[in-house]
Point group: C2
Chain length 545, copies 2
């Protein structure tokens, strides 16, 4: 068996190591265009910010180590320029020696990754306008920071944009973030990004939504970035973080099937339209685990797993990739946003029915010092209760809740299973009723009809007809409430039922939904037509932004 | 419906609140022997240590709040002295007024909890010998600390014993912990407690295993505790943390069925042998979720869920309790130990077949500052790969991994599912291959036969016959190795196969198992009879203690 792997970072390096473990006899050539293999992509922004000061920490392994340990024929600074599928050979441009060599293959694995998109605006090719993909990019951005860059513009407020913004802040660089979307971190539902947007602003970082860079002009003190609004920002550093595009040129040139967004099409064995060629990582179109639809998800975890699976199949094992559920997490200073599965916005776009709940508990027992608040949103099928997606924003413990929900999605669990989860509890770590249990109680109660719920968006469009009942204390009410709400504290409600109109639907709410739930139960049993406002006043505030 | 609930802490308070939500019309009486309802049991040690300085933080709710919000007839300082099942009434001793009153019931929920065991040794009733169950106990222990207690003896190194030891250390009290078992934290497998035992000692706390208090004698400076060894320890504070016993007296007196260890027997609806009487929390015998066997697990999470479920059933819903999987966690300073499901020792006792794997990864990407080591053990069915239990020791992130594995157990997942889990990854939170994935890879490889493994215990009993091959570097080898091992670094192995005997089984090992795995693959494919030592040298060290 002669196996050639094109691309030596996450998916490619995983495939190569796995291939060697499966076969000592195989000839395995790992071809990488850059100078490094298997570097820590996800660490790059933190090297710029000196959070990871040592550059070599980012090298997960080296070509020498791969050669020694896995007896791989590692060829860095080598670009595959063509694949001849008939003759089953690849043409390799050895960039160091500037010669073209040919290598035959029995099986080929494409792991060419995805390249950051660089918009074609005027000035996009100026010297200090960057994208961030590899160590060379990192070095350049870091050097510009080291040279004393004072102001930066980041175009795009996705994961990389926000991580960079944090690290520019560590370096004392005043940063403006632009995003054409009306929110930061657009994989998340908009209301869930409200705390993050506030956190970004609180760090002194300017966020301009609905705007992008229209042009970049040279300036005596660096560059002038011209915004959609007509305003300008001075910067010595501009970084585009507006998404990635699969590096599919080789696949396209050699006639492999490619999806509409450019990802190489593969079957569940990660085999392309040519059965001798596999593809893994950011360059492929994969399957959404929940919907079964084709999707493209550039994430390190899936890339690594795909590498293993492709190698398995090369060596005759029938190993299947189950699809990607897009579990992702962002750290921004002490703030965290994490998600798994489908977002509400994607479900809306698909026209698929769903329900959702919000809970706002602390990450661990409130009586133990250091508890931090969070908002956890769980989205589920309105009939079966099957969990479709979850998002969580807050401080500590977000990764845990989303990991738990990611496993629940993997297992096909429903919200009723969340009620029954038996999770770690000591006061430093959680609560006897964990936030995940709480979300299960609310969602389960909703589906059982115990806890009819009105979502803010629905209320907002039908506000005229409903009587809005704030069941918090007078103090809380005075501190801020939804317009037109009437205040009857839940503890007084049983004695003041006469004040509640019988001829109108009632929407009750409290701070987070718990007292609203009790109020709903009291009123339901007294014959009123009542629902609880999903997630209470806190969720309302998130929606208001 | 007239519902009486006996016991107002976790299970009882949950049942009462749930009952009211289900029925505004019901008469609900909540009877509690002590002065407090629904206090935070799990926080008690931390109040003693002044980690939670405000006592009222431990009051999750108050009788007044329960009356107001849930319209419950809350009767504290009231002890039920008898249940007349024929007449369906209870006799209540109102301790404040010292009168006996009778109340009839339609349904009864017993939530009387479990009492700490106080051994009947001489001196066990001396003034400053305590158990820790409630706020009154907490106040007394704290007062004795406030009075300047300098030395303490804790009998029992379970969760409460170790939590108390930490908090005594916060107070500057020199502590000796005794445990009749040959390990601390006996729900865990012994090798998994090695790091914790070291941590306890490093905090200057004396740990004496295989020993208990035989007698406690008054002494001019406090008490003298006489140990099994014949030695003595001076103390101004002695606390027994040697387990709990169900408070089943009412149940036994009224002829309800009780299990051999004293737990009230209930069916899946939490109904006792009397269909009008339910029981929840630490007082019941429940079902082990994995084995289906009867068990007793005094934990707050299950107690709360059981309270809900019993109330559901009282009001005609068919709500089932799925059993308990005994997810538990201990924090000790910066150390954490967590577990879920069956331990190896329990499986051995049951005579049930199993396999196990150990991994020793960091809690997040090693290239990001602050990564902490851990040991994760996963135990599974040798045929199906179904996960039976998991234990984890280390610093940060233990709760997350055990929660993920708890859900996997709940879902009936196998180790192959662990390989496929898609968990949060950014370098502050995890790794592209999370520790849980790693455990899945090792276990999956083991079951597929790619990665034959010898457990230390098995090796240890058949050591004569095997050739022990240390594949770490010469430096690592010189720094410490297993006796009789021969060192051939994995990177040299392919060129030194001639040195490896062909007529003996070979057991390869490295530091954590990963290079040992590669060595095993190299040797297997070269025709050797080889296995990898499970979890490598680090696991060996844990076993050596």
């Amino acid at each position: 068996m002669k196996l050639i792997i094109i691309g030596g970072v996450a998916g490619g390096a995983s495939a190569a190591a796995r291939a060697r473990r499966l076969s000592e006899a195989a000839e395995i050539i790992l071809i990488e265009r850059g100078p490094d293999v298997s570097f820590a992509n996800c660490g790059l922004p933190y090297h710029i910010g000196n959070v990871i000061p040592q550059r070599d920490k980012l090298l997960v392994t080296t070509p020498a180590r791969l050669r020694e340990r896995f007896r791989l024929d590692v060829r860095t600074q080598s670009a595959v320029v063509a694949i001849d599928r008939q003759k089953k050979l690849v043409r390799i441009h050895d960039l160091a020696r500037d010669v073209i060599v040919e290598e035959s293959y029995d099986k080929l694995i494409l792991a060419t990754g995805a390249a950051p998109v660089r918009p074609t605006i005027p000035g996009a090719d100026l010297p200090h306008v960057y994208t961030l993909r590899n160590l060379a990019d990192t070095d350049q951005i870091k050097q510009q920071a080291d040279r004393g860059a004072k102001r930066a513009v980041i175009v795009g407020s996705g994961f990389i944009g926000l991580e960079l913004a944090e690290n520019f802040a560590h370096r004392g660089i005043a940063t403006t973030i632009l995003d054409l979307n009306k929110q930061v971190l657009s994989p998340f539902d908009v209301e869930m990004t409200t705390p993050l947007r506030t956190a970004v602003k609180n760090k002194g970082i300017e966020v301009l939504l609905g705007q992008t860079a229209e042009a970049i002009l040279p300036h005596a003190e660096g560059m002038t970035v011209q915004l959609t609004s007509g305003e300008t920002r001075l910067a010595q550093l501009v970084v585009f973080g507006v998404g990635v595009r699969p590096e599919n040129a080789l696949a396209v040139q050699s006639g492999l099937e490619v999806g509409p967004r450019g990802g190489i099409r593969v079957n569940e064995f990660l085999q392309t339209s040519d059965p001798d060629i596999y593809a893994v990582g950011d360059v492929i179109e994969t399957m959404d685990f929940i919907t079964g639809d084709r999707t493209q998800v550039p994430l390190a975890g899936p890339a690594n797993r795909q590498g293993r699976i492709a190698a398995d199949n090369v060596f005759g094992r029938h190993s299947r990739y189950r699809g990607t559920q897009a579990t992702a997490i962002l750290g921004f200073f002490d703030h965290t946003a994490a998600m798994t599965g489908l977002s509400e916005k994607v479900l809306k776009k698909m026209g698929k029915a769903y329900r959702k709940v919000y809970v706002h508990p602390a990450n661990h027992a409130g009586y133990y010092p250091g508890a931090e608040g969070m908002t956890l949103k769980v989205i589920f099928d309105p009939d079966s209760g099957k969990i479709l997606g979850a998002q969580c924003v807050g401080g500590a413990g977000m990764d845990k809740r989303i990991d738990v929900l990611a496993v629940a999605i993997q297992a096909g669990m429903t919200v009723f299973h969340l009620e029954e989860m038996e999770l770690c509890y000591a006061p430093q770590f959680g609560s006897a009723k964990d936030p995940v249990n709480m979300a299960g109680f609310v969602a389960g109660g909703l589906l059982r009809g115990d806890h009819p719920q009105t979502d803010w968006e629905a209320f907002n469009t039908t506000a005229e007809k409903s009587y809005l009942l704030d069941v918090r204390t007078a103090l809380e009410f005075d501190d801020g409430h939804i317009p037109n709400a009437v205040n009857i504290p839940v503890d007084e409600l049983r004695n003041r039922l006469g004040e509640v109109p019988q001829d109108r639907p009632i929407v009750a709410y409290c701070q987070v939904g718990q007292r609203g739930y009790l109020a709903t139960r009291i009123l339901l049993q007294a014959g009123f037509k009542v629902t609880n406002l999903g997630g209470g006043y806190k969720t309302y505030l998130l929606h208001k932004g």
